[in-house]
């Protein structure tokens, strides 16, 4: 018998198996239909969400194909010429690829390493506050910057670290040479990261505070019986209890590594500090929106997304192996 051919009895057998399987699936659907009908209200509530995802998150993905085209808005997706991987090659072999990638990763990791723990610490500190009123005030004040529009916030930062800004003046007392700090490469990362913390720490702590309220108070009582002081309680009760939340947040955060906020960078950077501040997304902004190279920008955006996707999967795998907490 030649390879690839299937003997007659085997075929009949597989046919039989197939029909059996079909029946089973039919039964399953029927059973589920009953279940769905029973919970129809819940499923009905799900419908808008599914529609939303299809319309706004899946349908636009079709646009990704312009990354492989020489897209012209007038001719549309159907009419534009195909260029294959040309835009990707252009990007990878471009003068700035290395620098952009490095800058993006540097900025991203700096924000992650310094920015990620702060909301957790803040949440723990707020949790330790005895006075309910005071803790409410602290929370409100720390949330506040989150609600300031990015444009306004960046205008404020520009003032603060400008030639006559109060931060600049303060720094001058410690031997800073003067002038706007935003035109000096070495201050870019600190300004970016610290202002990020200023803006986001309060807001970021909400999810941890929520997790903290879910901790069983009996655990603390037990720890107290064992003679644990507040520090030990935090270390051995609080942190292990909110660890799953922390890890989920961390995994999700890793998924944004390549996509550090372009808005803020565009509003703050300047030609003088392109060597550290120019990141992939700002480069895409200049090329895609200002120079109208849609296909090129889409190609770079797609590259970003793919890298992010891979990073999330890796982070998830690692977390699953080591802590048994994972996104899926």
């Amino acid at each position: 018998m030649k390879r690839g051919e299937v003997s007659a009895p085997a075929m009949a057998k597989s046919k039989e198996a197939f029909s059996v399987r079909l029946q089973r699936i039919g039964k399953l659907i029927l059973k589920n239909m009953k279940l769905i009908w029973k919970n129809k209200a819940v499923y009905l509530m799900l419908v808008p969400v599914i529609v939303y995802y299809i319309l706004f998150h899946y349908k636009p993905m079709y646009g990704i194909i312009i990354a492989f085209q020489d897209f012209n808005p007038r001719r549309g997706v159907a009419g534009s010429d195909w260029v294959g991987f040309q835009h990707f090659i252009d990007f990878f072999t471009g003068d700035y690829f290395g620098r952009l990638l490095l800058n993006t990763l540097r900025l991203s990791f700096a924000t992650l390493i310094f920015g990620f723990p702060i909301p957790i610490i803040l949440a723990l500190l707020i949790n330790e506050l005895r006075s309910k009123k005071f803790s409410k005030i602290v929370q409100s004040i720390t949330y506040m910057p989150h609600f300031v529009s990015m444009v306004v916030l960046c205008a404020m930062i520009r003032q603060f670290v400008g030639a006559n800004g109060f931060i600049t003046n303060f720094m001058t007392m410690f031997g800073y040479e003067g002038g706007s700090m935003l035109t000096k490469s070495q201050y870019w990362i600190p300004i970016y990261v610290l202002s990020n913390i200023w803006q986001g720490a309060g807001w970021g702590s909400i999810v941890y505070l929520a997790a903290l309220t879910g901790i069983d108070s009996e655990l603390y009582d037990a720890a107290k019986v064992d003679g644990a002081n507040r520090w030990k309680q935090t270390l051995h009760v609080t942190i292990p209890c909110i660890l799953p939340t922390i890890i989920i947040m961390l995994i999700m955060r890793v998924g944004q590594i390549m996509g550090v906020g372009y808005e803020k960078t565009i509003l703050l950077y300047d030609g003088a500090i392109y060597d550290v501040a120019d990141i992939i997304s700002t480069y895409v902004y200049r090329r895609g929106l200002l120079d109208r190279q849609y296909s090129f920008s889409t190609a770079v955006g797609l590259f970003n997304s793919v890298v992010n996707f891979i990073l999330v999967i890796i982070a998830n795998k690692i977390s699953k192996k080591t802590t048994e907490t994972s996104l899926w």
């Binding site: 012209n72 007038r74 400008g162 002038g179 035109t183 003088a272 200049r286 120079d291 109208r292």
Partner: protein, 615 residues
Amino acid sequence: MKKRKVLSVVTSAALVAAMLLTGCGNNDGNNGSSANNSNASNSGADNSSENSSANNGSSDNSGTGGASNDNNSDATLLPALSESEQGKPGALTTPRSNYVQYPYADGEGITLTYWMSVPSNIMNHPDTPDSVQMTEWAKRWQELTGITIEFVGPATNKSDEVTQQFNLMTTNQTLPDIIEWEWTSGYAGGPSQAEADGLLIWLDDYITADGPAADLWQYLQDNPCLDTAVKTDDGHYYTFPFTRGNRLLGTTSGPIMRGDLLEAAGYKTTDLVTVEDWTAAMTKMKENNVKYPLSFESVSYMENLLSGTFGVRAAMYVSAEDGKVHFGKAEEGYKNMLAQVVEWMKADLVNPSYGDWTPANTKADIMNGDSAIVYGALGSRMGSWNTAAWAEPDTYGKDFELVGAQFPVEKSGQKVQYSGGSTDYATGSKAHAAISADCKYPEVAAAFLNFCYSQQGHNEINFGQEGVAYNGFEETPYGTACKYSDTIMNADNIAVEMAHHGRANMSGAFIQDPGYILGYYATDQQKAAVSLWAENEVSGTIMPPVTMTPDEAKEYSSLNGDVTTASDEFRGRVLAGYADIDIDAEWETYLNKVKDSVARMVEIQQAALDRYNAR
């Protein structure tokens, strides 16, 4: 301008004569058939319509014209202008023909859509917050032409948003009938690509001596330099252009100085000729406690003010020496300019913290005397600052006066060649009307647009209705000024009210008349400055409105992205590190990085320029 009056007299005389003549045949020798024939043959030489209709092979010029409009016959054509009367770059004539009869007979019952972004002056008017539709000029335009228009387009004046809206609009199934846009660089591949993409149509059949856009045709015949500019390399007409054909409109931004502070330091504006003079005067002012004598609103303002001083434009430009295309940001002069600015920063003559070069800081410094020299626009800077200061002499001092000054030159004896100016075909403005490929009545659309290029429509579209928006013209030492009515001059915001009645202070598909600027500029200082800058012979060094082929455009834009990044970075590093930067070393690094790309970009532009010159 006397020319206008002379022209109108001549034109009306010619028209009367022509009307009489049409009845009794063509036996008059003065301005009858023989003159017209020579006109026709003259124009044949530089009018592409014959070539193109041959290319198209389908349509007959006279046929189209005749079908749509039989008001024009050859006998009514105006005599051609002699070479000396023809418009020169920076001195285009005003329209003198009324070939097309309005209201346009074939336009009845037809509604066309007209896409243009709503300028901020119109958005700021209480009657027209989000559309051009209800402006007086839009109403008059429709009324006089007898063609109904629905104005569409985004109510935003942010360049990025307008571009986005344009791109969205082009993806629509059905395009508006008329689209105002920047076609030479605002559409990848230029007008030829737009035609190939089915966006616009060639206008060769309409801009003809007897077509529905005969008045534009006559205007282009009268101004051959403009005729060259508004065609494609292949000789097709594609647009009803926005034309800024007068030098007074060419340079409306330049060096503006606090005359009083300058005088206190013992200088007059006319003393400041070379960079050396500037340094001396600024040093003296510095001693008089002017904190930073020279201010820049932004780095691009710095380039606008000073790059010409060092013999370059901070973009692609045509060198006056060899007539070839150069890229200013890769020329030695650009480095010299930065070196000079750095010198001034070191001496505290310019605010050394270039991150603080903002419009707000500049305004504050000029108003309170911390700074004395800026680069800026006559209307929004000099005019409004002068007016504000004069309103409160106690706060700003009774001597406060901003005056225009000449652009500086590097060494004495040099001419100002690379500073300011603009091309007659005002590319760069998203204001050139094309008829879209989906337009069902292109003749009607052409006739509608043609109105602005006719003698009767010129003032209407620029200033508004006579007797309502303006009351005639007056001669001033600087030229003919439009006498705006009290409705406009007493309005809370003159510019906004002006834009409600006429398009002169905005861009669009018409011939911008300098009368508006002289009528609008409230102060003599502004008028003096604009005529001072108008004297400079600078338009020859501006890159003319060339068009690149689609492939060239693609390559150019890709190279340009990285060159811009590199040049911004070089400029930023030099200015931020002014105190101890080694400019020559930075320059070397930068040039090495970009020189291949720049060479290729220049090559592309040169090829485009050669094609342009060969038109």
